[in-house]
């Protein structure tokens, strides 16, 4: 029952990975339901790449487990249904574009040539050009074609568009969204550019200091927070509110607060944008973790703030 919506696309339990310099990711438990487009955000070195690399079976966990639709990464089922696009997008520079697609065909039983070719054609990348002679944007397009041609149920993208100009980035996003919608695939996209993720993603996983701080549906997470503007630092925060982070100077402060009741008590409180929410949690690495019910792992040891 791989395609059952009840089986999460990704589930980690107590997942941790230690390198020689220390823990990159520690005791991380969360779920990503299938069919979501998920933003994976966090500062550099927070463990985003480590998390995605463990899902792609490029590194093995030091502690805990990670499963993709119930399968171990590296199992035949997980391999055939997962595509991974790393920052480097390393392709063989002496291969022609058509040979990269042939590689995809030879190594993946689920390969769909038309999907891959349509991605290439949309960017007018010549099929017989050598990969080494392509521009950064064109090479990324080829890497996308290789990933999408596999028709993955799960796409793992590790800042693949960081080096693209805004127009190409937009096109890639559109292609990705269209493919994901058409096949009901799950997408996990890590990025620094929160504003870019806002329109594309309906799920959020925020990693900071080596563990998950926020996870859940974007709208549910936003509903649990308020943005207080214009209040003074000395002013007491109303009951039931928990300040996550405050920014701004003496003139005007702006605080992200967590609340359990949904209605805005008075003026000056408003729903935060996704960017405000993410920035608030990035400023406060020690804020208590918040996972919505769909992101929680039963029996996990997550501390969920009331």
């Amino acid at each position: 029952m791989t395609d059952s919506p009840n089986v999460p696309a990704i589930e980690t339990v107590g997942l941790g990975r230690r390198y020689r310099r220390g823990w990159a990711l520690r005791d991380t438990s969360f779920r990503l339901p299938a069919g979501r487009v998920c933003a994976l955000v966090g500062p550099n070195g927070a463990g985003k790449t480590t998390l995605l690399s463990m899902a792609a079976d490029l590194i093995t966990p030091t502690t805990g487990t990670i499963t993709l639709s119930g399968h171990r990464p590296g199992s035949v089922q997980a391999r055939q249904s997962t595509a991974f696009l790393s920052q480097q997008k390393a392709l063989y520079p002496r291969f022609r574009v058509s040979e990269i697609l042939r590689m995809g065909r030879e190594l993946n039983p689920t390969w769909h040539q038309e999907t891959a070719e349509s991605v290439i054609d949309a960017g007018q990348v010549p099929m017989n050009a050598r990969v080494g002679t392509l521009s950064g944007g064109q090479a990324t397009r080829v890497a996308f074609a290789l990933a999408l041609g596999k028709r993955p149920r799960l796409m793992l993208l590790d800042e693949p568009m960081a080096d693209l100009d805004p127009l190409v980035r937009h096109q890639m996003n559109d292609i990705l969204q269209a493919e994901a919608r058409r096949h009901g695939s799950t997408v996990v996209m890590s990025s620094h550019l929160v504003s870019e993720l806002e329109s594309a993603c309906d799920y959020l996983v925020l990693v900071n200091n080596g563990t998950v701080r926020l996870a859940g549906e974007v709208d549910l997470l936003l509903a649990e927070h308020r943005q207080l503007t214009g209040h003074h630092r000395q002013e007491p925060v109303p009951d039931g509110y928990q300040v996550i982070a405050t920014s701004g100077d003496e003139g005007g402060h702006s605080s992200l607060v967590r609340t359990s009741h949904a209605s805005p008590p008075d003026a000056g409180h408003r729903a935060p944008t996704l960017e405000e929410l993410v920035l608030g949690y990035l400023r406060a690495p020690d804020a208590p973790a918040l996972l919505t019910p769909s992101a929680r792992v039963d029996g996990g040891m997550e501390v969920v703030a009331a």
């Binding site: 690399s53 792609a56 079976d57 490029l58 590194i59 093995t60 590296g74 035949v76 391999r79 055939q80 997962t82 595509a83 991974f84 790393s86 480097q88 997008k89 390393a90 392709l91 063989y92 291969f95 058509s98 040979e99 042939r102 590689m103 995809g104 065909r105 030879e106 190594l107 993946n108 039983p109 689920t110 390969w111 769909h112 040539q113 038309e114 070719e117 099929m127 890497a143 290789l146 596999k150 028709r151």
Partner: protein, 334 residues
């Protein structure tokens, strides 16, 4: 879901086509593979032609009759002329054969895994549907098969070229020197396979192409020195004792490893060096109780047993390297 129709823009070629990982590894190494195949074919053609020339010359000059312990003046001069014409030109190629294993090690083995690890392309392959172990097996196996094929053809060709000359010239073209020993026979294949695996393993561990190539050169040279040191002991040495002679009792075309004086009772005794300056050497030796000589040697027939043992040793080391690299990949998956 989708229909199974898959349109391909590349024209469909007739004939056998490589599939899956085999295609990928062939495509990555095709320049090296084609160079290897072309060189092997050229060497094979040249050796075939040379063999015909040499066989004809042996017949025409009746060199078959010029064998044995005592060569007539005529035979000696004919063999010398034959050697100048046919043995001299093959000395450099036989010496150059020592480089062949290094070529496989440095240019096929060294970059094979190091380049993937260095450029990060292994991540692209590792996230396709094939398992890491299958990719690893193909990455080692396909170039290995090519190494066996190319070095095998070249070794067979060199042996075919060398053999009639060596047969005609006998002791005048010693078989046991480093050339032709490393230039003919199965040891060429054994060394090429070992050096390829050495390069690949070093590349896996060092993860840098240039570093792996340099290390392959250094470790390979060390292995060669080691093999050259143990080579006489790779097959049981024969011992001969003879009385009433001051000559070592080994065949003329043997690989003489050691010899010394023998007492009347058949015991090995130390040399009496000053006797060799005496007027009557035999008399002087006899007065010291030396009446014969012993000798330790490999007869010419030991060439192939020595070669096969060296080959076996190389292949055993190669298996160890494969096991080592498998263990390394399991331990450090990425």
């Amino acid at each position: 879901m989708s229909t199974a129709t898959t349109r391909s823009r590349t024209p469909v070629r007739r004939g056998p086509r490589l599939r899956g990982l085999t295609w990928l590894i062939w495509r990555q190494n095709r320049t090296a593979f084609w160079i290897g195949l072309a060189v092997a074919a050229a060497v094979a053609c040249y050796a075939l032609v040379q063999h015909q020339h040499i066989a004809a010359a042996v017949t025409a000059q009746h060199l078959d009759a010029c064998q044995g312990h005592q060569l007539s003046e005529r035979c000696l001069s004919r063999l010398t002329t034959f050697g100048q014409q046919y043995q001299f030109p093959m000395r450099r190629p036989l010496q150059a054969m020592l480089l062949l294993p290094f070529l496989f090690g440095l240019f096929l083995g060294g970059p094979q895994l190091a380049q993937e690890l260095e450029s990060g392309t292994y991540r692209t392959v590792a996230t396709q549907s094939v398992t890491r172990m299958r990719w690893f097996a193909a990455k080692l196996g396909v170039p290995l098969a090519m190494t066996v094929l190319v070095s095998g053809v070249i070794a067979a060709a060199m042996t075919w070229w060398w053999h009639p000359v060596a047969k005609a010239m006998g002791p005048m073209f010693p078989w046991h020197q480093w050339y032709p020993f490393y230039g003919v026979g199965p040891v060429v294949v054994g060394l090429s396979v070992l050096f390829y695996l050495l390069g690949a393993t070093l590349g896996l561990v060092l993860r840098r192409t240039v570093l792996a190539m340099g290390a392959t050169l250094a470790v390979g040279a060390g292995l060669f020195a080691l093999l050259e040191a143990v080579r006489p002991r790779l097959w049981p040495v024969r011992t001969a004792y003879a009385q009433h002679t001051s000559e070592p009792p080994a065949p003329l075309d043997a690989w003489q490893l050691a010899d010394g004086p023998l007492s009347k009772e058949g015991h090995r005794v130390s040399e009496a060096w000053d006797c060799y300056a005496a007027g009557d050497i035999k008399q002087c030796l006899a007065s010291r109780g030396i009446t014969g000589r012993w000798s330790e040697y490999h007869p010419a027939s030991d060439l192939w047993p020595l070669q096969w043992t060296a080959t076996g040793l190389c292949l055993a080391l190669g298996v160890v390297l494969i096991a080592l690299s498998l263990w390394w990949t399991r331990r450090n998956p990425a």
